[in-house]
Amino acid sequence: MSDVKESFEPKIIAFCCNWCSYAGADLAGSMRLKYPPNVLPIRVMCSGRISPHFILKAFQKGADGVLVTGCHYGDCHYIKGNYITKRRVTIMKDLLKFIGIDSRRLKADWVAGSEGDKWARVATEFTEEIRALGPSPLRG
């Protein structure tokens, strides 16, 4: 059993907004910072564009964790997208917990375009957290 756990590589979907987080992830690459290859970034125009249905779809298709990243409060290119995102993610986390999926598998964080180091740190920490949680119960 312990062998299985050691060889477990989490699949993580990271939704990144075009203006801050994706730029941050890009910068992490330019800065030659290391972060785990388990994280698959998907670029969307704004974190407010991330429909809660996308998050559910990711879990349905076997993601072990979903990371939602956007601009810091007040920095949103569309002024208020990230505030709405935070509200949605909060409700979604509670709903996931209610049906029996660990709410730590969903996380929202804010990364600016200049924070390549923060992106690498967030991605690494989240991957390690999911690795410790083990495979998603919905993974078929």
């Binding site: 249905h53 349905q60 935070k86 409700i91 209610f98 049906i99 029996g100 919905l138």
Partner: protein, 271 residues
């Protein structure tokens, strides 16, 4: 009952409303009927049965056909909450709708576990206090995570994808339904993909659900859908202080930032 009939008759005859949507007894089965001035005698068949009917669903169909007429409609507490939400979402014009309120009996309120079994204005029946009961949520919350998942997956696996929950829902008025979107859920096959099929609807009910419970009554597989929607309804109240069906001018905080501007409630920031 005569008082109600006379009240409706007065409204129709004075021309205040051009039609009244109520229920008539048709061989022992109450069915919806649009009463008009021309056939005023039909009002003798007007009934208030001991069960509920999705009145606002029918009302929406009438309003789409006659958008400029003033329509009266028989509403219970839940229908009245639906009217508020429909007006908020610009599906009806509230000044063209004249609700005729019916208060539910104590037995009905208890069997529905209804927290507000009376409309804003009551024209028939006596107002009784609502029932505050979250035992269905507590039952799920008493389980651990894997127990909850087993429970819900067991419930969801009973689904025959009849869309009954959606079709009866007074808050399901979208022109395009996510549950028929092939990029999100597999279409054209049964059983549905679980849990996404039910969770999409559950999340969509956040800031929408008026807690009437018709979905659960309609479900042929007896899936406790209402608990899911009650959960998101409770979350919306706890985290964002938003309760649906209360105020027509209060906007859904999942769609609008609202008057509090750009503050993030501390309860949310910690999650």
């Amino acid at each position: 009952m005569d008082k109600l009939r006379n009240y409706v008759k007065e409204l129709l005859e004075s021309g205040e409303i051009t039609g009244f949507l109520g229920l008539i007894d048709d061989g022992g089965h109450p069915i919806p009927h649009l009463f008009t001035k021309e056939h005023i005698d039909r009002l003798n068949d007007l009934v208030v049965p001991d069960f509920r009917y999705p009145m606002t669903d029918i009302l929406l169909k009438i309003v789409r056909k006659y958008p400029e007429s003033t329509i009266g409609v028989m509403v219970r507490g839940c229908d009245d909450r639906a009217l508020i939400e429909l007006a908020k979402n610009q599906k009806i014009m509230s000044d063209l709708i004249r609700p005729v309120g019916v208060a539910c009996s104590k037995e009905m309120a208890e069997s529905c576990r209804c927290s507000q079994p009376y409309p804003r204005e009551i024209h028939y029946g006596e107002k009784v206090e609502g029932v505050q009961d979250r035992s269905d949520l507590e039952e799920v919350e008493s389980m651990d995570l894997s127990g909850r998942l087993d429970y819900w997956m067991g419930q969801f696996s009973k689904c025959i994808k009849c869309y009954g929950c959606r079709n009866i829902c007074s808050m399901c008025f979208c022109d395009q339904c996510t549950l028929e979107d092939e990029t999100l859920v597999m279409t054209g096959q049964t059983p549905p993909e679980i849990p996404i099929f039910h969770l999409i609807r559950a999340f969509h009910m956040a800031g929408r659900c008026i807690d009437c419970g018709l979905c659960e009554e309609a479900c042929p597989a007896h899936i406790p859908l209402r608990s899911l929607y009650r959960k998101v309804r409770e979350d919306m109240a706890n985290y964002l202080g938003y309760v649906t069906g209360k105020d027509e001018y209060e906007k859904d905080p999942l769609e609008f930032l609202g008057s509090e501007g750009y503050e993030v409630p501390s309860k949310i920031d910690e999650t």
